[in-house]
Symmetry: C2
Subunit: 441 residues, 2 copies
């Protein structure tokens, strides 16, 4: 993509309304624009990151045997009255009356609707288990939306639902998601720590929240350092094998990990040797629940058992804050100059900087590099604008692509270009051929 | 995907509430389920088709140089008051009041919001043209929603917006979308005919709707047969070349094409030789508009010209009914037994039918075929259920995958399997190796 054609309205000044670094950087990098309180438009740069995160979430849900579908944003109030949550939810639920005066709402979550779909579609134990998910916009009418996409009103969530014959089978489904979540966040370059959690308005018996480590996080985290060192991707767990999955879950749930809300200093000191005690800050990016028959009973989701009896299905639900993760990753990975994207979610692989567009040799070399990098399958943002070098460097650092390749007339005299690693700041002067070989290796 | 694991609740009976064939078939094939009047959940089979259509739309927008972003579903009423459309839109607009009593709405379209984003981001003629699009759910509170996803209330739309310096440049952008639309629909196996149209509530000077031919369509269509015969994909137009694009648009806009609303029998007979007069029925799937400065002036989207003057940008907007297309394609392509998917949008490439799951050789052969087809990159739905052959055949015809590969003990005695083409009904008996060779060629 040529920067001259790309819709990327970056800002030099720090927007005053933004209290936290991810919000400031997303506004400055031209990733988002607020359209009303807590509601954002995703401009092309931000949308690219959102899509990459969404794709990783999708791949790991699919890998865990979960099937994608899509429920609507607007729901009828009827099912929520049946489940008893229509009144429970309070003013955070965006309530709507349609032209025929029917009570509708903008879904803040989907337990009721998926249970209803299931109740009308599945009859027999032979059709279980079933794992279903969707990635859809939700709305929660926060009284004071803030922190940009970290606590917005309209936000993108992946929510999955499991349907099983009994609590033992349901625990296996729960474990599958547990491991899928560890993998999902690890692929985004994040350390996600599962912590025992309260079930809140979803209800239920068993729940973990997944907290990523970030110095600017909202909660304080106390955990065993083994969490930080363990590489879940390296274990390459087969999420279809309950035994393997169970072992990973057992390993993680035995270790101490609590947020300040549930922290017990005595237990921490007793359970964790001093050299393994880790204290830091964290951000919640996922939450999983097992709630048994809480929704299947009132909403009539029954199946026929092997013995011909009618029994309610055992359910769980599993959320990931997809749009929140964009902010979360920035909180975990930035410096004074801007964002530092992990390669897996970067909006482009590389920024190519032309230091002097009116210099024929320089521009010819840049065009050559641009076309060769694209042919090698790299996604390149080529800054071909007639702007000062300083402005181009600052912009590139701000938007945080993993690599910067800078080409200017002075270097070219000695046959050299400059390759910079955004994360480490390391710069190399080398020939264009060597740079391309290194980038496309 | 194994049918035993796949969430695919097909129905034998025809649902009474469905008036048109696509609605009946989508319900029977387990593609969708109504959650409230005109609002549907997309079950996994339906969602796969929706995604494939969305991806084709996306690829052709990208190819035309249009950049993807994403605006929210919920908008503030303020901009609509400024543009004057807040009152114009009437009861079809879903109006919402949030917890702070602010007037909000569920966007039925996005001219106001994109104009506002543009107004705050772009300053100079050097940044023009810009083409931006998003694929987002919209809501129109139809007084009588019906015909399933063809006239639902919550629907998925691709809407694009062009920003140009003057009307001549804007016409070039308009032409780009015109050609991108021809290509988009052709790739879905549809004949789409552009017809001069009224601009309606969007307003403006120039507008075409794109109508696909389907015997069960809502409007009657009168056109030159050259539309039906012309293969726009074959021309491989470079949408970045205004001249090539302009020639295609000129060709199509010179030919007679009108719906019954605008049909002029005298002109039809005078302009079109008898042997080229085509009459049929059609469904609107796209609509494009050039409306100049209708939104840029009230919403303050001005840019600085080469001469340093302030001037309003010239805009157009370009819609495709993504979820509507799922129904539209079925209307254009089905028979008495069910849906006939064009390969490009089929939810799976092939259905594999095991005629006797408790026969060891039969199941071993099916598993072998399943794994070899997947290795060859095909997306296979494998019916491994313990069900009657008749029920499996009926289900496969209903869901309409392009190919059916049937393996049973009787055929295997002679080393034969059966390969059926869903569209032509043609069946071949041949060896498994030959069948696989043919399918993966």
């Amino acid at each position: 993509m040529r920067r001259s054609a790309f819709f990327l309205p970056t800002m030099k000044d720090t927007p005053k309304e933004a209290e936290i670094v991810s919000h400031r950087l997303m506004l400055r990098a031209g990733m988002i624009r607020q359209s009303s309180a807590g509601v954002y438009s995703w401009l092309p740069l931000g949308y690219r990151v959102l899509r990459k995160i969404e794709d990783i979430v999708r791949e790991e849900q699919d890998r865990a045997g979960c099937q994608e579908m899509l429920m609507p944003t607007i729901q009828s109030a009827d099912l929520w009255v049946k489940s008893g949550r229509y009144d429970d939810y309070g003013p955070e639920m965006l309530r709507i009356r349609d032209r025929h005066d029917r009570d509708m709402l903008y879904g803040p979550t989907n337990e009721e609707l998926i249970t209803d779909i299931f109740a009308h579609s599945v009859r027999s134990y032979r059709e279980l288990p079933k794992l279903l998910y969707h990635i859809q916009w939700k709305f929660r009418d926060e009284v004071r939306p803030r922190f940009g996409v970290m606590r917005g009103r309209e936000f993108l969530m992946k929510d999955a639902y499991s349907f099983d014959t009994d609590s033992e089978a349901a625990k296996e489904s729960y474990n599958r998601f547990f491991v899928a979540y560890l993998r999902t966040f690890a692929r985004m370059g994040l350390k996600a720590i599962p912590m025992e959690a309260d079930t809140g308005p979803i209800g239920g018996n068993l729940s973990h929240e997944f907290i990523i480590l970030a110095d600017t996080g909202e909660s304080q985290v106390f955990c065993d350092r083994n969490f930080v060192d363990y590489d879940v991707l390296g274990t390459d767990v087969d999420t279809g094998d309950p035994k393997q999955v169970g072992e990973v879950v057992d390993y993680f749930t035995r270790l101490y990990a609590r947020t300040d809300e549930k922290h017990d200093p005595g237990a921490f000191e007793q359970d964790v040797p001093a050299e393994r005690r880790y204290e830091g800050r964290g951000i919640e990016v996922g939450h999983i629940f097992y709630f048994g028959t809480k929704y299947s009973e009132p909403l009539g989701a029954f199946y026929t058992t092997r013995d011909g009896e009618e029994a309610p299905v055992h359910m769980g639900s599993y959320g990931i804050g997809v749009s929140r993760l964009v902010g979360g990753i920035i909180e975990a990975s930035h410096d004074d100059n801007g964002i530092i994207w992990p390669a897996s979610v970067a909006p482009f692989d590389l920024g190519l900087i032309n230091l002097q567009v009116d210099n024929e040799e320089c521009t010819r070399t840049c065009e050559d590099a641009y076309s060769r990098l694209q042919q090698a399958g790299m996604d390149v943002l080529y800054d071909d604008r007639d702007e000062r070098a300083g402005a181009k460097f600052a912009d590139m650092d701000l938007i945080g692509l993993p690599w910067q390749l800078t080409i200017g007339p002075r270097g070219l005299k000695s046959g050299l270009v400059e390759l910079k690693n955004r994360a480490t700041g390391e710069r190399q002067e080398l020939s264009l051929d060597s740079a391309l070989a290194q980038l496309t290796a």
